[in-house]
Amino acid sequence: MTTNSNFLTRNRGILIFLAVMLIAPFLVGLMEGSSPATILNNAGSFSRFLEGLAIEIFIWAIFALSFDLLFGITGLLSFGHAMFFAVAAYLTGIALKTLQLPFWQVVLLVLLAAVLQALLFSLVLPRVKGITFTLVSLGFASVFHIIVMSSDMINLTGADVGLQGVPVPAFLNPTNERFRFYVIALVLLVATYIFYRRFVASPTGRVCVAIRENEGRAKMLGYNTTTFKIIAMIISSITASIAGMLHALYQPIISPSVADLGFTVTALLIVLIGGVGSLNGAIVGAFALRLVDFVLRRFVGGSASIITGAIYVVFVLFVPYGIIGTLRLRKLNTKAGWKEVLARITGKP
């Protein structure tokens, strides 16, 4: 990757994605017969619905990206990742509803909480490795899940029913300002993605990849691997918190299920479907999973999650590199194939 190639060419893929997703609501609007103006006024019905679905996908994708940074890039498998998301969601809800703080303060609070949690996880990072870290992270997250579910905090969290009736600031109201919310979520996703790409290509990011490949060697080269893991952890935590905050603003109810192991599994599933460590896999995976889930729920109903589970197992067993990874392998093969054909025609090796 040349460093002086400009911003546009480097991020061509994601910028095309941004453009397409920006135009898409209007195209859908045209198809259902509503003019661009009605879309801007949040009046089209089908496009509104699709925007809603897309917002959920964007939130999932941001969350999955943050998971991929930890798992796919740095090689830290955390089973407590949902905690970052859930803490942000609940904090947003409680700060707006119970504390009635102004919005900018809520944002600051959420970011602060994100950093604090990352530091909490980092407490054990220098000592425990591999599977034990996974267990510790699961332990932390389970405690949070149990606290959220407990009846002691019912006034704050709504216990097992979930937190509802969060007063969302008018300019972000997902019902009245759906198109604006859609664009904000989209831009946040694209910005996160571009930032992540840069991070992975940066010297710091490369050390993170080195840690995944062989931590001992990275240490031997003189890197304090713990510091790099903490950096990755903080970035990941902040990103997950942004997703959690969007979730709290968008959904009418913050359900405690976003704090449990199942939600971390969702992130894992998305990353796995898309392709572990590929970053764009997180976006592809989020689209694939949400749409499959949507279709299944429509036609199969209750047993949809069993089928999603089966898909997960099939991916683990047969498509370990995910959609993006498999495509890349194909591409390499095709490239090699073409080269061979060319060599045969020209008679040169």
Partner: protein, 515 residues
């Protein structure tokens, strides 16, 4: 001796600190509270141990952290409940299950037949997959039409909750029998056997031909034959067996139920290891993700079959006596009246929950310990934990031992579920909660250490129960009049805290091997 103490000085200090902490905690309580709390700690510890023991065996030898252990625990409980409360359902399920097993276990015959098929690799593969798919689809169609008397989740009067309630009241009414309506019994029974054989033959075709000559060993055909005959017999005498089970003493029924859940766990474990875990030994992280996924699927399936609401598993007669001399004050009274409770140091203790479960836990501990230390399998396991390749190089089929250990581990978890359910009830979240406790116990004790699993489970049980007890009576804070009552949410939090502290001091746990 001195060196062992020095080597483990940190572990010993940590243990002393925990013991001191528990001692101080116990001083704040009355004598009977202490007894009950400690016994409950042992009880919870025993159940946790059953799951954690399976964990540590599997992780030690196979390097697989089986995150489906919690679900196995839960499945054990639900299967046991079914046998205990609805023996008729159990008997109905038995026939198709045995016939399917018979079909698949005839693998020696299918392999032999498959060796007569000479085809190119590609068409052979296509034929094989075709056979598998056709076999399984037909099997599914047949099973869907096979009559199994069961509960109805949508009808409260026929829901598991109602049946549990009736069984608890001693009402053992045989529900109406399910009869063959859509297909004839002969077609169903032979069809199930034939279709599963078809699929098994397809699988045999898929396997690459090994150049070992298949010696026609008649012993290989005994097990399938027995399964087949049993399947047919159960089908023929379905009504009689059902009636017999309904008149059986609940003590015997309980034993059958526990045995059935252990067997289902063992079967499930063997199936999981051979089909899903085995292809992934070279990709450990994927194994972890797979078991996690299987765990979640398992929970969904349990919810689909048995429903989400909580229900109970009534205790067997042996532990429910209330008459005459109950609560018992001495052993003779206890045995004569089969009391549900017993007085110990002035505290009323439930016999099943606080006496029986810990005893079973200790028995299992001793049994597994003996298996590990005295038997050849145990020797292979201990050697395999260290160096798998070397064990294989000695001519030992390690793969088979892997399957065995995995099956045993899952079986232990299922046993734990069946044991705990009569005291704690059945919910669709029971697995997840126990998974967490077992993982914490394991991390505390040392991931691959079997005694570590026992010690960790005991600590987790004790600390949880002391926290719960203090949640009820409150801790008087020194120099103030306020009483601090830890809320139930703090119970799991306290064990996680313990785990984090221990891991910070001893990254490999209390008894784990230092790398």
């Amino acid at each position: 001796m001195k060196t062992t103490i020095q080597k483990n000085s940190k572990s010993i200090i940590v243990l002393i600190v925990i013991a001191a902490f528990l001692f101080v905690a116990a001083r704040g309580m009355s004598g009977k509270d202490v007894v009950i709390t400690i016994l409950r700690g042992f009880s919870v510890g025993s159940v946790t141990f059953l799951v954690a023991a399976g964990f540590s065996l599997i992780f030690g030898l196979l390097d697989v952290l089986n995150l489906a252990q919690g679900t196995s625990y839960m499945i054990g409980a639900y299967v046991g409940w079914t046998v205990y409360v609805r023996p008729d359902t159990f008997v109905d399920v038995l026939t198709p299950l045995l016939l399917i097993l018979a079909g698949f276990s005839l693998s020696a015959l299918w392999k032999r037949l498959a060796s007569f098929v000479h085809l190119e690799t590609k068409p052979k593969k296509i034929v094989a997959w075709l056979l598998i798919v056709v076999g399984l689809v037909l099997l599914g169609l047949l099973l869907a039409r096979y009559p199994i008397s069961s509960w109805d989740l949508n009808n409260y009067a026929e829901s598991p909750i109602s049946y549990s309630y009736m069984a608890d009241q001693g009402l053992r009414i045989i529900p109406p029998e399910a009869t063959f309506t859509e297909i004839s019994p002969e077609l169903a029974i032979l069809g199930i056997f034939a279709t599963s054989s078809l699929a098994a033959f397809g699988i045999a075709l898929l396997n690459r031909e090994d150049n070992q000559q298949n010696n026609a060993d008649w012993r290989k055909y005994v097990a399938p034959a027995i399964l087949f005959i049993f399947g047919i017999l159960v089908a023929l005498f379905n009504t009689q067996i059902t009636n017999w089970m309904f008149t059986l003493s609940t003590n015997w029924l309980f034993l059958i139920a526990v045995a059935a859940s252990i067997l289902s766990g063992i079967g499930l474990g063997a199936l999981m290891e051979t089909t899903l875990i085995r292809p992934l030994y070279s990709r450990p992280i994927y194994q972890l993700m797979l078991t996690l996924g299987l765990g979640t699927i398992g929970v969904q399936i349990v919810q689909a079959v048995w429903g989400r609401p909580e229900f109970v598993w009534p205790k067997p007669e042996l532990f429910t006596g209330t008459g005459g001399a109950c609560p018992a004050t001495n052993l003779t009274d206890l045995i004569e009246n089969q009391c549900s409770t017993i007085m110990l140091l002035g505290g009323r203790v439930r016999v099943y929950d606080e006496i029986f479960i810990p005893i079973v836990g200790i028995i299992v501990l001793i049994l597994v310990w003996t298996l590990l230390k005295r038997s050849r399998i145990g020797m292979i396991i201990r050697a395999g934990v260290q160096d798998r390749q070397m064990v294989e190089a000695l001519g030992i089929n390690v793969r088979r031992v892997f399957t065995l250990v995995f099956a045993l581990g899952v079986g232990l978890a299922a046993f734990g579920g069946a044991l705990a359910a009569p005291s704690a009830g059945l919910t669709s979240t029971m697995g997840e909660k126990l998974l967490l406790s077992a993982l914490i116990a394991l991390a505390i004790g040392g991931l691959t250490s079997f005694p570590g699993a026992a010690l960790g489970s005991l600590l987790v049980g004790l600390i949880q129960q002391f926290m719960i007890k203090y949640g009820q009576i409150g801790i008087p804070l020194p120099f103030t009049d306020t009483v601090f009552k830890p809320s139930p949410a703090l119970v799991p939090a306290s064990t996680v805290l313990l785990m984090v502290i221990i891991l910070l001091i001893l990254p490999n746990g209390l008894l784990g091997k230092k790398e």
